[in-house]
Structure formats: C-alpha cells, structure tokens
Symmetry: C2
Amino acid sequence: MYKLEEQVGYILRLASQRHATVFNKHSELGLTPTQFSALVRVAEMGNCSQNLLGRRTAMDVATIKGVVTRLKAKGFVELGADPEDKRRTVVSLTKTGREVIKQLHKFGAMVTDETLAPLSGEERKVFLEMLKRLT
Amino acid sequence: MYKLEEQVGYILRLASQRHATVFNKHSELGLTPTQFSALVRVAEMGNCSQNLLGRRTAMDVATIKGVVTRLKAKGFVELGADPEDKRRTVVSLTKTGREVIKQLHKFGAMVTDETLAPLSGEERKVFLEMLKRLT
DNA sequence: CAGAATTCATGTGTATACTAACAAATATTA
DNA sequence: TAATATTTGTTAGTATACACATGAATTCTG
C-alpha cells in the first residue's frame, strides 16, 4: 500500500513549510528565508558577483536576480560595476546591511533551534548529518 | 561563527532541490511533485472537494486551485458539482487518472528510494521518523 | 590572432506557495 | 427565524524556483 505520508518528498515539503512558518513568525526585518541566506552569504564573501552569489546559495540566475533586486530595494545591499569584468554586477552590503548582520546570525540560530525543537540535542546532530547527505 | 551550511532551513532547501531533480529526471507523465501528491490523494479519497483536497495535501486554497486546474488540463482529474453543497467543486479521477495510479505508486516509491540512496536501510527509518517530527 | 566556447546578466514562461480581499452558500446561534 | 459566523471557491499580489533564449563580455583554443 502506497502512503504519501511515508514519501520523503512529501515530508520534506511539510518540514520546509513548518520551517518557513517559524522563520516568518520571528522575522522583524521583513526578510524571507531565501533573502536571509543570500544576505548572510554576501556578508561572508564581502564583494561578490551576482551569479557567483547565486551558486554559493544554490539559486539559479533568474532566482538570484530577483532576490538581489529585493535586497537592494530593502536597502541591505548595493550593486556596482566590476572594473575587471564588464559583464559582472558586484553585490556588496550597505551600511545598513553591515549593521544587521550580527542580529541576523542570532535570528538564524533561533529559527534553527525552534525548528529542531522536537528533537533532542543528540538527535539534532544525527538528523542534520543525515539531511546533509541527501543534498 | 555562524555557518549557513549548518542551518536546518538551508539544508532542507538543498535536500528539497535534490529531491525535485530526482523526481523530474524520472517523471514521464509530465507531473510535478505537487501535482503527483494531489493526484495520489484524489485516488485515495475517491471524490473530494477542492478545498478539502488542499488541506489533505498541505496546500492552501490558491495553490490547490492551480494544481487542480493543471491536473484537469492534463486529463487526470475532472470537476463536478456537489448536489448537497452548491459551494463545492468535486474533484475525481478520470479514466486516464485511474489507469495511471498504479504506475504512479511505483514511480513514487522509486523516487523516494533514489532520494534516500545516500542512507542505509536503518538510517532511512531513523531519518524519516525524525523528519516527520519536524512537520 | 581569430573563431569557438564559456560566462554573466537579463527576460520570458510556467509552477508552487502564501496573504488578503471578496462573493456565494451553508451553518450556527441568539 | 433573523443576524452572525464559517466554509468554499476565486482573484490579485508578492516571492521563490527552474528551463530556455538572448546578447554582451571574456576566455579558450587551434
């Protein structure tokens, strides 16, 4: 007997939904999970072309473009030209972006913690290790 | 130090992406994972209102509407009126829909198997049990 | 060095996914 | 029963997410 509830794709979707709910419940800066990832990555990389940022956050070119556009509209990143390569758009943090990074890290840790709340400390380790292997 | 790669939301996104890739690689009927879930659920429930189908597949009203529309366009489901409640749209399988269900079950099991391939048999059990608790 | 291949960014089209607002039908309750 | 509340379905708006096509710039290669 085939049970939808036992299929990894279906359960992954439900878990992602719950994570998004937890994220949005606490999000004060109006960021989405995707925007959050991109912003944290920009901070980590300093300057970075838009396409490279997409690769480093697992977003295709069309997706990262939209994300960067919205992060710019919200004032967290700014775009510039790359003097060494005229094809590139360089993404970097604004002053506001630099100011919120620490807060974002704290926020991200909280979201992860609340999402994993149903698991014990040891279970979380095991779970994350296995989840990583599925990527 | 905050590592994006250690955050459950980020890894969930990557795992979902890989699952979608596996699903699409094998999908011959042109179904998406979401459409697949809804179709399997319709088969399981027999007749079912559109909104109820959405709840039973964890899709909100706007999403399930689009999914049902596309399943209808592909000829797998048909829509009818509910004589007992004029608000309702009843969703049911077409002949084609009934014919492909067994095939879908086999397909779904294969996708789950390939997605979980990096885990051993015992690990899969443990992993799915923990993943369910996060929903 | 010149042609070919690749990379970067953009745009279009399709498919989730959720919010909010709305109208119609049904159910509840005062 | 009449007023209220809920349910159902639709629509509009925003945000991922991916495939594909295009053009410009750069790199590779013969």
